[in-house]
């Protein structure tokens, strides 16, 4: 099977000379389809930079990175947009829904960029909202929803895209414990359906849900442990 994520010797360097910072320093990483991987690390460990590279929001300074076997090393801006649109479902810490647009319209948005027809994408959006338990909230705007509900809309948006990889960046960082449990349960369900999930977190209870935990330190992989062996 083709790995969803295949990174080889990835480095990301900011600045030059004296001010040079190696945020990610020689990371090699493979994620197989159906895996649920947590990436942990203290702040400054390079996990945000790594997450941006995995999500094709940023390109590495050196090294090769394939998503679904596609090398994205020398793609331009628009091609990267296309890769994100087709293969990656983002769930952000700050929810990142577009204000003044209904939940349904937010979920539809990536499908619109993909060129899906209006009726079809409305159907898929309502479907996804149903899966996260917000079918009755489809006309609400983000500011009319609680934090937990907003994050579930974001999960629905990622789901509707049917991505190769669900990429969650501290998805529970802004949520209370009850909403945290809701969202994590949701991710468990999604994983049970066979989706591949990479979650970036610094909380042990979040990482505990994953089947594999990778710990970063100073831009390098410190440990890579399967849950069964923990």
């Amino acid at each position: 099977m083709i790995p969803v994520v295949e990174m080889h010797d990835i480095t990301k360097v900011y600045g030059e000379g004296e001010a040079e910072v190696r945020a990610v320093d020689g990371v090699s990483l493979t994620v197989e389809p159906g895996e649920y991987v947590a990436i942990m690390g203290a702040s400054g460990s390079g996990k945000s930079t790594l997450m941006n590279i995995i999500g094709a929001l940023d390109v590495a300074t050196t090294g090769t990175y394939r998503i679904d076997g596609v090398d994205i090393g020398d793609l331009d801006d628009d091609a990267l947009s296309l890769v994100r649109n087709r293969r990656i479902g983002f769930i952000f810490q700050a929810f990142n829904l577009i204000p003044r647009m209904s939940a349904a319209a937010n979920v539809e948005l990536p499908l619109m960029y993909r060129g899906v027809r209006r009726g079809e994408r409305r159907r898929r959006a309502l479907d996804a909202l149903g899966k996260v338990g917000l079918a009755d909230r489809s006309h609400h705007q983000p500011n009319e929803l609680s934090g937990g509900q907003q994050q579930r809309v974001a999960v629905a948006r990622a789901l509707a895209m049917e991505p190769s990889l669900m990429l969650a960046d501290e998805p529970t960082g802004n949520l209370d414990s009850r909403s945290t449990a809701d969202v994590l349960d949701l991710l468990d369900d999604i994983h049970d359906e066979g989706k591949t999930i990479v979650i970036i977190t610094h909380e042990d209870e979040v990482a505990a849900r994953a089947g594999r935990v990778i710990t970063l330190r100073d831009g390098r992989i410190e440990s890579d442990v399967l849950a069964s062996s923990r």
Partner: protein
């Protein structure tokens, strides 16, 4: 497809920021309305001047005696005045085929009275052809005829101003008025010509022989009115008149003792001047349109800054540069087209109103022009903010608070 989706996204943003969109639209609206209204007023002024010149007879030439002196030195000492014979010579179908008619005018200030009413005006002693040559039809009554001229009958056709002054509430026809002591019977009243540089209605017209007989005495005439066969032949008629008078007076260019005033060239000059005036007004309008355009750039830049995070989100979930560019461009264009439409409606309403005697005339090209320009303004002034939005890097845009 992408166009429709981008337009829909842009429209959502416009509706979401209703007040700001309306204020931005206002700038373009004022600009477009200003261009159309100002040009319409310029055109209206031009029309009214043109029609008042044309009412004097657009194919009219006026010949006046002129003593050609340069810096006080008399160039032609053997100066001759214009005579009735000169006028007769111009009525020559062979030498002057483009002259439809010429009539001498003997003008003199007179005071006319009837009962205890008195009015100071100008008397014009002329031939019956005067009425046709100078485009002066009578509104009521009749003209005088060649018979009247030959028999020096003291009858007169009075201007409308004179009629109002001397006959405020009675019918002037058949009444006898006394001009400088000489009695004249009113046989007609001229049609009102309307305001011009001088009031053409403050005049009384009588047979030349009668005027010479009773008021001015015999001698030179004040001017000769010449009618060209059509407005297009005024220049030919002018040349033929000059040739005939040069021959009679023994003059050449530089020593000429008469001057020809061409109504058509006056019209041309006036039109040129009014064209400049209209262009100037249009330019003032264009400046406000430009200011409106800068308003669009301004508001779109604010919008891009304010929505940096939103743009980041859109790019993260797969919006291409092209889509973002298109969305912001269309947003700016929709704003300016709305402004242009509102401006057009206002301009058409305002153009119904007559101001200072000028009824504005909407020039179609200014409507089309203002519309096209405002769309161009949306595209041009929206392109910089749109480019800024499109080139935002998603990770930086997402970090933006």
């Amino acid at each position: 497809m992408i166009l429709v989706e981008a337009l829909r996204s842009g429209w959502q943003a416009i509706v979401a920021n209703r007040l700001r969109s309306i204020l931005t639209t206002l700038g373009i609206m004022i600009g477009v309305a200003a261009v159309i209204i100002l040009v319409a007023f310029g055109q209206g002024a031009s029309n009214s001047v043109t029609s008042s010149i044309q009412s004097l007879g657009s194919n009219l030439l006026t010949i006046t005696p002129e003593n050609p002196n340069r810096g006080g030195e008399i160039v032609n000492p053997s100066i001759q005045e214009l005579t009735v014979a000169d006028a007769a010579a111009l009525n020559d179908a062979v030498l002057a085929p483009d002259i439809a008619g010429a009539a001498p005018e003997r003008r003199a200030p007179v005071t006319c009275t009837i009962g205890d009413l008195s009015h100071s005006t100008q008397i014009v002693g002329t031939w019956p052809s005067y009425f046709e040559i100078t485009n002066s039809p009578v509104a009521e009554g009749a003209y005088f005829t060649n018979t009247d001229e030959l028999s020096a009958r003291r009858i007169t056709v009075i201007g409308s101003t004179v009629a109002e002054s001397l006959f405020p509430d009675s019918d002037p026809l058949g009444k006898r008025i006394s001009c400088n002591g000489a009695p004249f019977t009113v046989v007609g009243v001229q049609q009102e010509k309307g305001a011009s540089f001088t009031n053409p209605d403050d005049v009384i017209v009588a047979p030349l022989s009668a005027v010479e007989n009773s008021i001015t005495g015999y001698g030179e005439v004040s001017l000769i009115s010449v009618q060209a066969t059509s407005p297009d032949t005024t220049d030919l008629a002018e040349a033929q008149a000059i040739a005939i008078l040069d021959e009679r007076h023994g003059t050449v260019e530089g020593t000429r003792d008469f001057e020809i005033f061409n109504q058509a060239s006056l019209l041309e000059t006036a039109n040129t001047a009014l064209g400049v005036f209209t262009a100037l007004l249009g330019a003032v309008g264009a400046i406000s349109l430009l200011v409106g355009g800068i308003g669009i750039t301004n508001i779109m830049l604010v919008s891009v800054t304010e929505r940096t995070r939103e743009i980041g989100i859109r790019k993260a979930i797969g919006a291409s540069r092209r889509f973002i560019l298109l969305q912001f461009l269309l947003e700016a264009t929709v704003l300016s087209v709305f402004g242009a439409t509102a401006g057009l409606v206002i301009a058409l309403l305002v153009s119904q109103v007559e101001v200072a005697g000028i009824s504005p005339s909407v020039v179609p090209i200014s409507v089309v022009g203002a519309y096209v320009i405002s769309v161009a303004i949306g595209l041009f002034f929206g392109s910089y903010p749109a480019k800024r939005a499109a080139s935002l890097r998603p990770i930086e845009a997402l970090r933006h608070e």
